[in-house]
């Protein structure tokens, strides 16, 4: 028998992580519930004035998405660290960045993708104008993978730590600022009927940058954390 090719190994690990998540359903549900609840809190806190809500809806949804993404980050490597599987992955015959990328993809499908599905409903609840909802969908589609990718570096650095969670947020949130700025402003511009291609191109640029660099950084960080 021969060793798997790179793409086969990638798909294998992706499927394995999806299977694990599927058998551990809470992992799906929790970030999603958190996302919905945070968005719900805003009208309660600032008053359900339709104009006000519609105006700050992009900000609310994106801040909530950011927090939900951050809270779910730990699960990328946590269970593999706890049961020793991470050692096995680090010693595998395949390049580690590829495996990290597979894990991050699985993580995004499990935690980021549900946000994508639910966000139009929340946008409607906050009274976001119709023409902005398509752009919201687009920004979440492009933006949340960046959050998972960049976040994976942070988790890789904090994976063995007893109080990794709080450190993780300090490490990761500043790095999320550009995504937040461009995503929220794209939606706002769309609500105002303006052209949003500049913001979308920026988000795409972030995505490609994160796709090419963060798996390498996260793999290096994992190696260091495990030593």
């Amino acid at each position: 028998m021969t060793r798997l090719s790179l793409s086969q190994a990638f798909i294998y690990l992706l499927r394995r992580d999806l299977t694990l998540a599927f058998r551990n359903r809470a992992e799906f549900a929790n970030p999603l519930l958190f996302f919905i609840m945070v968005v719900t809190l805003f009208p309660l806190a600032i008053g359900a004035v339709p104009e006000l809500l519609a105006r700050i809806a992009p900000g609310i949804i994106w801040v909530a998405a950011l927090l939900a993404a951050m809270l779910s980050l730990e699960s990328i490597f946590r269970s593999d660290f706890d049961d020793g599987s991470l050692d096995q992955l680090l010693m595998s015959a395949h390049p580690m960045p590829l495996l990290v990328l597979a894990k991050v993809c699985a993580h995004w499908l499990v935690t980021g993708f549900p946000l994508l599905i639910i966000s139009p409903i929340l946008a409607e609840m906050l009274g976001m104008p119709q023409q902005a909802q398509g752009v919201l969908f687009l920004t979440i589609l492009i933006g949340t993978p960046v959050l998972s990718l960049v976040g994976s570096i942070g988790v890789a650095l904090t994976v063995g730590l007893p109080k990794g969670g709080i450190i993780l947020s300090i490490l990761v949130l500043p790095l999320y600022v550009p995504v937040l700025i461009f995503a929220a402003s794209a939606i706002e511009a769309a609500a105002g009927g303006l052209d949003v291609s500049a913001q979308i191109y920026m988000l795409l640029a972030f995505l490609f940058l994160a796709l090419s660099l963060s798996p390498v950084a996260a793999a290096a960080a994992l190696k260091i954390s495990m030593s």
Binding site: L157, T158, I167, L171, I181, F182, A217, A220
Partner: protein, 244 residues
Amino acid sequence: MFLWFHKLGSPPHFYRIAGNWLPWLGTIFLLLLVAGVYGGLVLAPPDYQQGDSYRIIFIHVPSAWMSLFIYMVMAACGVVILVWRMKIAEIVLISSAPIGASFTFLALATGSLWGKPMWGTWWVWDARLTSELILLFLYLGVIGLHGAIEDKRVATRAIAILAIVGMVNIPIIHYSVEWWNSLHQGATVTKFDKPSIHWSMLIPLLLMALAFQVYYLLALFQSCRAELLQRERNSKWVEELIAK
């Protein structure tokens, strides 16, 4: 040159050379500081728009420069650590972080003090102040991560990665914030980067910037020596040093 560099890379030599440099650095720092402060507070004329309040920039701008510069040094050390595993780079990286954080804090605090008479509030979401705040978070992340990892060798390698990742992100964050700022406030009233600054203000500004650079070296060297003693306390050269 290379040999000298190589020598500097060995802990006992670095310890000794840094120790020899300390008094000189202290003297140069004081001279530059006195000249800069005198030029900035006394010789430079009041600004025709901002009166005397602009004199804060002699602290604010060099601090902001230093905060960026030190982060760049840290990222460079990060590369050296990961590629060549040089011990001195590890020490320089972790010793630089609190100094950089101090300068960042200074830039923020003085920016706020400058903003009050200019804008009427202590805090404005101005591009420079906002970037500076995020930079402070990046510094705190580095310091926090180093503190959280018990094995200090692992910790320095971890913050090496973090510093490099941060360095890649700093320009992105900076331009995002600038862009965001122009979007929400129109033309800002930032007068820090006036295109033409009079030489009577420029010279003290540069003197202060130099003074801060020298201060960085001074604080860095002493802090590196402390860190070296701490880390290499079991090694022969420390024992010999103490025995003397």
